[in-house]
């Protein structure tokens, strides 16, 4: 088609009816016979075309080149005057042929082995079998499920299918010394909160009582007086540190970590499941912000919510990050000396302190239970300093705590709850009702933790063992004490106690016939019946 110069004047179509259907550059059939004016329509509609503003290709190219120079500089782009579809076109130069740096991922590079052979390098696949399928609704759902599961594990501290332990330890201690240490820890924690006039129940705080327990707790001395009650031998700094650890609540920004949410494309954020998650997270953030201002209200709010998994965070994010760096040991943590007022009364017994390093601590006076008579009314208030229960026999625990009364029900309940959390042993309600001192509480805990025999036979053997371990007293002494000698069933000559059901073998063996039975069976080539289901046949 030859290029027809454009006419400056506006030319209307001579035959409007026929030219409507035909393209404008084709002249109508009726006008072929005579030279017609230009068939092009220069009406505003057609004049708006792109190519219509230039008179020639050359001018257009010059226009493009001018702007290229302005934008890209003097160098002429490669694809300016070349055909990109031509095989020999310079546009088709491969990057490696050009000599530029080729980006190679680390995953694609293999690792040279000892024999010098490189293994693990990326090999492009030729077939689709066995390749990972990426994309699609199912893939996305699986990925979201995995991310949600990881979030759950991080927040709740347990796997999805795992049942909630309700803060009760899985390994339940039964050793009296371990239980004594945990009891002492519970006493220090609860009494510290009591002194600070805070909530006594550790489970009501954000951490729910789960924190890194400092070692000095187990070596804390306790001091009891009737006027002031139980006093703990810890410094103000230690007290504040302990309160801070117990009452720690992670700020809202740490709860909502960006890396916990998916940082993918916008289309994933528009997913309804992710939007729902964001709504839940926003609710939690609001709850946490309100909790900062009014801690009491926070507790009620959280309880009203049906499901608030973000609140039960085991450890805050900052703690997880700082796991690798151990906390530096500070010498200031050592307990300051506990000053005990001087006593005019004579000292009955003096014990060495648990740690000789704490020599600045004043003397510790312990009264024995049997030798101390009742105090007169006009005598000054005796201050009994009680020693720390480090590895000591059971008797000393009871002696130490037996003087401390436990009349406040809230305090008693807080102690019992904390003991259940630490030890896994639950004290029954009647037991709690009957305890009046810390010593009673400890005794109840030790009795509850004592392993109970599974069968009556084991209970009888245990009873026999305990009776044998007791010192023997004469009848006269027992009569004076108003007691009767306890006889063990296993010691009596007319009693036979069996741990299993009595069978034929037992009865025959008693009268001496079993060996005859065995001999007769062996003589006839028959199997001797075994006990239980083993053997040829059970004989009753």
């Amino acid at each position: 088609m030859r290029r027809i110069p454009r006419s400056p004047r506006s030319i209307a179509l001579l035959s409007p009816s026929s030219s409507i259907l035909r393209p404008s550059y084709h002249p109508p059939a009726t006008l072929c016979l005579r030279p017609a004016p230009s068939p092009f329509s220069t009406s505003p509609k057609c004049r708006a075309g792109i190519m219509s503003s230039y008179s020639s290709q050359r001018k257009h190219q010059a226009f493009v080149r001018k702007w290229q120079k302005r934008l890209l500089g003097e160098s002429e782009p490669i694809g300016a005057h070349v055909d990109p579809y031509d095989a020999t076109s310079p546009v088709r130069i491969a990057p490696e042929e050009m000599g530029g740096e080729e980006e190679v991922l680390d995953e694609e590079q293999g690792v040279p082995g000892e024999d010098g052979v490189v293994r693990g390098a990326y090999v492009p696949a030729t077939r689709g079998e066995g390749l990972e399928r990426v994309g699609g609704k199912k893939w996305r759902a699986e990925r979201e499920e995995e991310e949600m599961r990881e979030l759950w594990v991080e927040v709740m501290g347990r796997d999805v299918g795992e049942p909630d332990s309700f803060d009760i330890p899985t390994k339940i201690p039964r050793d009296p010394q371990v239980l004594g240490r945990l009891f002492h820890q519970a006493v220090v924690e609860v009494y510290t909160l009591k002194e600070a006039k805070q909530e006594l129940d550790l489970a009501r705080y954000a951490r729910k009582g789960r924190y890194a327990v400092p070692d000095w707790i187990y070596e804390t001395s306790v001091h009891y007086s009737r006027k002031l009650g139980l006093e703990l031998g810890i410094s103000e700094a230690q007290k504040q540190e302990l309160l801070k650890e117990i009452e720690f609540a992670p700020p809202a920004e740490e709860v909502l970590g960006e890396e916990t949410l998916t940082e993918d494309l916008d289309e994933e954020l528009e997913d309804p499941a992710v939007e729902q998650l964001e709504e839940v997270v926003e609710e939690v953030v609001e709850a946490k912000e309100e909790a900062k201002a009014e801690p009491e209200k926070e507790i009620k709010k959280v309880q009203k919510k049906s499901f608030d998994f973000m609140a039960n965070r085991q450890f805050p994010r900052s703690m997880i990050k700082d796991e690798a760096a151990p906390a530096p040991i500070e010498e200031q943590v050592i307990a300051e000396p506990v000053v005990i007022e001087a006593e005019p009364e004579p000292v009955l017994e003096v014990r060495q302190p648990a740690e000789p390093a704490k020599a600045t601590e004043s003397e510790v006076i312990v009264e024995t239970a049997t030798s101390q008579p009742a105090e007169p009314a006009e005598a000054p208030e005796p201050q009994i300093a009680i020693e720390t229960p480090s590895p000591k026999p059971k008797q000393s625990f009871e002696t130490i705590y037996s003087r401390v009364p436990l009349t406040d029900p809230a305090l008693k309940f807080a102690l019992a709850k904390r003991l259940t959390t630490l030890t896994g042993h639950r004290l029954s309600d009647p037991t709690l009702h009957t305890t009046t001192t810390l010593g009673d509480l400890l005794t109840s805990l030790l009795a509850t933790a004592k392993p109970k025999p599974a069968t009556l036979h084991e209970a009888l053997k245990l009873q026999h063992k305990e009776l044998r371990a007791q010192p023997k007293k004469s009848r006269a002494q027992l009569a004076r004490e108003g007691l009767r000698r306890k006889e063990s069933l296993l010691d009596l000559p007319n009693v036979v106690v069996r741990g299993k059901k009595e069978g034929l073998r037992d009865r025959e063996r008693e009268v001496g016939r079993w060996k005859v039975v065995e001999y007769a069976l062996a003589e006839r080539g028959l199997d001797v019946p075994g006990e239980g289901r083993r053997g040829a046949k059970r004989i009753h």
Binding site: L456, N494, V495
Partner: protein, 137 residues
């Protein structure tokens, strides 16, 4: 042939001269699992040692019998046995049954209709129509 009278021998009555306890053995069967055996288990732990100490002439056997109610079986000199099921009893109830078995003999329980049971013959003799006040018309 000289005649000699039958020598009378004192009738032996258990308890008149010597006393032999009829119960020679008591078997106590309990269960570790069944709830009906709780009283029995408590009796064995607490009261049976005292009972066994006070009755050294009785052989006592204690053995479990799973999936069954607790039972006490008394064995007697005449070869008979008497079992008593003590399911759901308190330790005191089990103790009463134990003493009952200890005091019993192996004889079957009989209903006594007469007011007096005695081996001695009647002092005044059994009534007959031919002995007594003469009938006067």
């Amino acid at each position: 042939m000289p005649l000699s009278a039958i020598k009378t021998v004192a009738k032996a009555q258990n308890g008149v001269g010597a006393f032999i306890l009829q119960c020679k053995r008591l078997d106590f069967h309990y269960s570790n699992w069944a709830g009906s055996s709780r009283g029995m288990n408590a009796f064995i732990r607490s009261q049976l040692p005292v009972f066994a100490k006070n009755n050294p002439q009785i052989e006592i056997r204690v053995s479990p019998r799973g999936n069954k109610h607790p039972v006490i079986i008394g064995h007697y000199i005449n070869g008979k046995t008497k079992p008593i099921c003590v399911r759901n009893m308190t330790p005191e109830g089990v103790r009463e049954k134990t003493e009952l078995l200890r005091d019993a003999s192996g004889e079957k329980l009989k209903r006594v209709n007469k007011p007096v049971t005695s081996l001695n013959e009647s002092v005044r003799g059994i009534w007959s129509p031919f002995h007594g006040a003469k009938i006067q018309i």
